[in-house]
């Protein structure tokens, strides 16, 4: 499983302050702590309050890649910030994210191609978040069609079924899990899947438990990558156990540490 650490996000108060003060040490420590706990990619998001997202994104990238070779997940709604980021990034990159709208795909797929970057595409469009599995699959097909038409290597594509908070849209959980499974049937080799895990528990009680439970269920449904908090030890342990039970790793008595030190 590709673990994308979610903590470098300007939405978090301390990160927002560090970003404003250009506190390299704080960001670097946060990057290294996530890598140490099992993240092999790091989400970088300047947050909605950033006054200069282009420069902030570039600063985050340079700050982080000077201490780790982890893949950088450039998380912004602003294409210019992503493009500027791709230009300064030396590590591998993932663009986070496109959606299933033609305009967005036509601009971000060529960008990913020219910078040899991976791309996350959300199964949603102008109509908003889909309400069931079939709508999600339909949007995934549209994403894949565009990728194939633009000769984009679909091995570098990750489709996100878009999680909804369980306290808002309880009926969606099952639809999302089924969509994860069906995305895999659309192409050969199967397209990779990703989720932004914390969305499932947004505004709910017992967030960690909800995240942990959903992640295990998603792993069973062939999930390949997740944006999550790698510092949540119970979450990481549950992930490791679920992959172990699915025979994705060779058991040994130190299996928890073996996975984290991979």
């Amino acid at each position: 499983m590709l673990i994308i650490g979610e903590l470098i996000n300007g939405m978090y108060k301390k990160v927002g302050i560090a970003l404003a003060k250009k506190d390299e040490r704080f960001i670097q420590d946060l990057a290294l702590a996530q890598v140490k706990n099992g993240a092999s990619a790091l989400d970088l998001n300047c947050g909605p309050l950033s006054k200069d997202p282009i420069n902030d994104m570039c600063w985050l990238i340079e700050t982080v890649q000077s201490v780790t070779k982890a893949t950088l997940c450039l998380d912004s709604t602003k294409e210019k910030a992503i493009e500027a980021g791709l230009k300064v990034a030396k590590n591998k990159t993932i663009i986070n994210s496109s959606n299933a709208e033609e305009d967005k795909l036509k601009s971000l797929i060529p960008m990913a191609k020219s910078f040899n970057s991976s791309l996350i595409a959300l199964a949603m469009d102008k109509k908003g978040i889909p309400q069931n599995k079939d709508q999600r699959v339909e949007l995934a097909v549209r994403i894949l069609e565009n990728a194939v038409n633009m000769n984009f290597d679909t091995n570098n594509l990750l489709i996100d079924p878009v999680l909804m908070p369980v306290n808002v849209a309880q009926a969606q959980g099952k639809e999302i899990l089924e969509a994860l499974r069906e995305f895999k049937m659309l192409t050969d080799p199967p397209v990779k899947t990703v989720i932004g895990l914390s969305n499932v528990s947004q505004g709910s009680k017992f967030r960690n438990l909800l995240n942990r439970t959903f992640l295990v269920m998603a792993v069973v449904n062939n999930l390949d990558a997740a944006i999550l908090d790698p510092m949540d030890e119970e979450l990481m342990n549950a992930l490791i156990c679920s992959e172990l039970i699915l025979n994705k790793h060779v058991y040994c008595d130190s299996f928890l540490n073996a996975y984290k030190n991979k």
Binding site: H249, V250, Y251, C252, D253, S254, N257, A258, K262
Partner: protein, 314 residues
């Protein structure tokens, strides 16, 4: 025509270098594909053959091994030189069986001197094995490691029950180690973790998965090795170590290799049957990923060497 399907693997097997840079060196590992799939990936280092010699006469070796080697049994140095000069050995594997309390109970200092003498004379990379008695090995092997400091040898064997002393010795005197597990992939992985937790770099560990001869559990080891190799190539660094297989020891234990013609006339002559049994066993382990084959009979070893050169053209 159908398109050829090739698998792309994420990880390489670790490269291990044995021997001193001023003498002959042997490199094993480094491949990023299953054995002999040259269209799928690279195998930068061919599997190598080590001849097994003992510090004392191996009295339980069957007749056709005795015929080959008995004139050297009183002098391990001449035995090693014969393997190097006449049999073109890649490495020499010296088993210090004479250290065993039930054998000659030879002392550590005497054996350390012997190791050093052999190393200085034959100048090939050495594999040094204990006698299998944990207490005695913990006494003998560290002293041998010290005597061979700087020669970058391969020492064995560390087991889950007894690894700390040997790991410490290899760390201090800069040698590599054999991690031995009882045909058990989970223990193999755990032992690699335990050894690397003691700060011995992963590119100084070679796995002995414990092999069985043809007819004696070969298929169990085969599938363990295959599974470990697949896990390693898909990214499990704790299984990305090269394999050493003690083929000679196992093949010559088999009744089919050593039974006399008189008792089993239908089985053919011993002089061809024994080496053939060792050869077929070795071939199976080459196919499952062996990097070092420790062999006994020259005919078997030479045929396997030819086979390796045919399968990997460099």
């Amino acid at each position: 025509m159908l398109e050829q399907y090739t698998e792309k693997w994420a990880n390489n097997i670790n490269v291990i270098t044995l021997g001193n840079s001023s003498l002959k060196q042997v490199r094993i590992g480094g491949q990023n594909t299953l054995p002999f799939l040259s269209k799928e990936g690279n195998t930068p280092n061919k599997p190598v053959i080590a001849y097994e010699i003992w510090d004392t006469a191996p009295l339980d070796w069957p007749q056709y091994l005795e015929t080959e080697f008995s004139k050297y049994w009183s002098d391990p140095l001449s035995w090693a030189s014969y393997c190097k000069n006449e049999l073109s050995a890649d490495l020499i594997c010296l088993r210090l069986q004479g250290a065993h309390p039930d054998s000659q109970n030879r002392n550590a200092k005497e054996l350390a001197n012997l190791c050093k003498k052999i190393q200085e004379t034959i100048k090939l990379p050495l594999i040094i094995l204990g006698c299998g008695d944990h207490a005695k090995d913990n006494e003998v092997l560290p002293l041998c490691a010290q005597a061979l400091k700087g020669y970058n040898c391969l020492f064995g064997s560390a087991t889950q029950e007894n690894y700390k002393t040997l790991v410490a010795a290899c760390l201090v005197d800069n040698h590599s180690i054999i991690a031995e597990s009882p045909i058990d992939i989970n223990i193999a992985k755990q032992l690699n973790i335990l050894i690397s937790d003691m700060a011995l770099p992963m590119d100084r560990i070679v796995m002995n998965p414990t092999v069985g001869a043809l007819g004696y559990g070969l298929e169990y080891t085969y599938s363990i090795m295959e599974r470990a190799r697949l896990a390693a190539l898909t990214g499990d660094k704790m299984l990305a170590m090269p394999f050493i297989c003690f083929v000679g020891q196992e093949a010559w234990r088999a009744k089919e290799a050593k039974a006399s013609f008189k008792d089993f006339p239908d089985w053919g002559k011993e002089e061809t049957r024994g080496p053939l049994w060792e050869m077929v066993t070795a071939n199976a382990f080459l196919q499952s990923g062996a990097d070092i084959l420790v062999m006994r009979h020259p005919k078997a070893a030479q045929e396997i060497k030819k086979l390796i050169n045919k399968l990997i053209k460099t």
